[in-house]
Symmetry: C2
Subunit: 199 residues, 2 copies
């Protein structure tokens, strides 16, 4: 117990952040109090604005402050490309790594009947409607390479074909900078059988 | 850039926490939005209460919600023992590790003329007044074993003697569980020359 109950409460509340245990929370609280009260107040304000103000985009289901998110409402993006991802963080990763200028569709999960995640929960009915509208020419399936992600990808590919849209899938294989010796067997077997001709 | 400006702002604000870089801040923000908005709102409230409500105790200079902190206003603590520490976090460490039941005095720094930290900034005038009052019989000096901490300890010991108070200092030596082979030379030399008779 410290000399200030409010300090104890702050330390306790900081522990809701992922990866923050008792010691780290203590260090964070002391640092804010000693050196950066302004930063602490700003963080409180931003937290409130985010927790209450961020909903989901009507069109792509990603996080959004308004009915339509900044990506969906950006007229310069290519409406003929639609990339399906599991979580909002995946979009950040793709935006930072690639020059992709198409749109996204966020499942907010993956097909997982045991957890009650079926096509309805992933909004696949709305995705089907959108594909049927005819604007999308390619559906880029970027679900995770897990068992559930692969099952979801399979379902999405069928959905695309049914609506006359060409499905594609991120390439699997040896990661750049990896060493063959240390790559797991599944990845190596896949990379071997999916080998490409050198032009 | 994500789909939500509010999310970007939250990620940016989280980076004021020590040890939190861009990736960790992203993970924290997504985790709060996906799984724990209630925790995020509570954290915002506790941050506001702490940043605006925590001042310094009139008596010991430690963090306090009220004029007198919970330790100084606790009648069951021994007023004849006074432990001088550099920072509030040191008190937490001592409270958690020992059964000390005396009071504290927090310097909020250490003697460091180049940084403009002199006796006045550390509140040593108020400490001298308190020592002169005659209630304190032992001044436990628990500054850090750094060059500046040692200089501060030296000054504090003089101050105690001038006011008829017995000064004491935390023992230096080999840490428990340490291996002699890996202990730094200074500590080992000190432990060697300060060796104690086995009873």
């Amino acid at each position: 117990m410290s000399s200030s109950p409010k300090l104890d409460e702050l330390i306790e509340a900081l522990r809701c952040l992922p990866g923050v245990g008792a010691r780290t929370a203590q260090r964070m609280a002391h640092q804010l109090l000693e050196r950066n009260r302004e930063g602490g107040r700003r963080l409180a304000q931003r937290l409130n604005e985010a927790m209450d103000g961020i909903g989901n985009c009507r069109r792509c289901r990603n996080y959004s402050d308004t009915e339509l998110c900044t990506v969906c409402s950006n007229a310069s993006r290519d409406e003929s490309l639609l990339c399906v991802i599991e979580m909002p963080a995946d979009q950040l990763a793709i935006e930072q790594a690639t020059h992709y200028r198409g749109l996204y569709y966020v499942l907010l999960g993956r097909l997982s009947p045991l957890d009650g995640m079926g096509p309805r929960e992933l909004g696949l009915d709305r995705l089907a409607t959108r594909l049927a509208e005819g604007q999308v020419s390619e559906l880029i399936i970027a679900t995770n390479p897990t068992v559930e992600g692969e099952a979801t990808a399979h379902y999405l590919a069928q959905l695309a074909r049914q609506n006359g849209v060409r499905p594609s899938r991120l390439a699997h294989g040896v990661p750049l900078g990896g060493e063959l010796e240390y790559i797991d067997r599944g990845t190596l077997a896949h990379a071997f059988s999916a080998r490409q001709n050198v032009e």
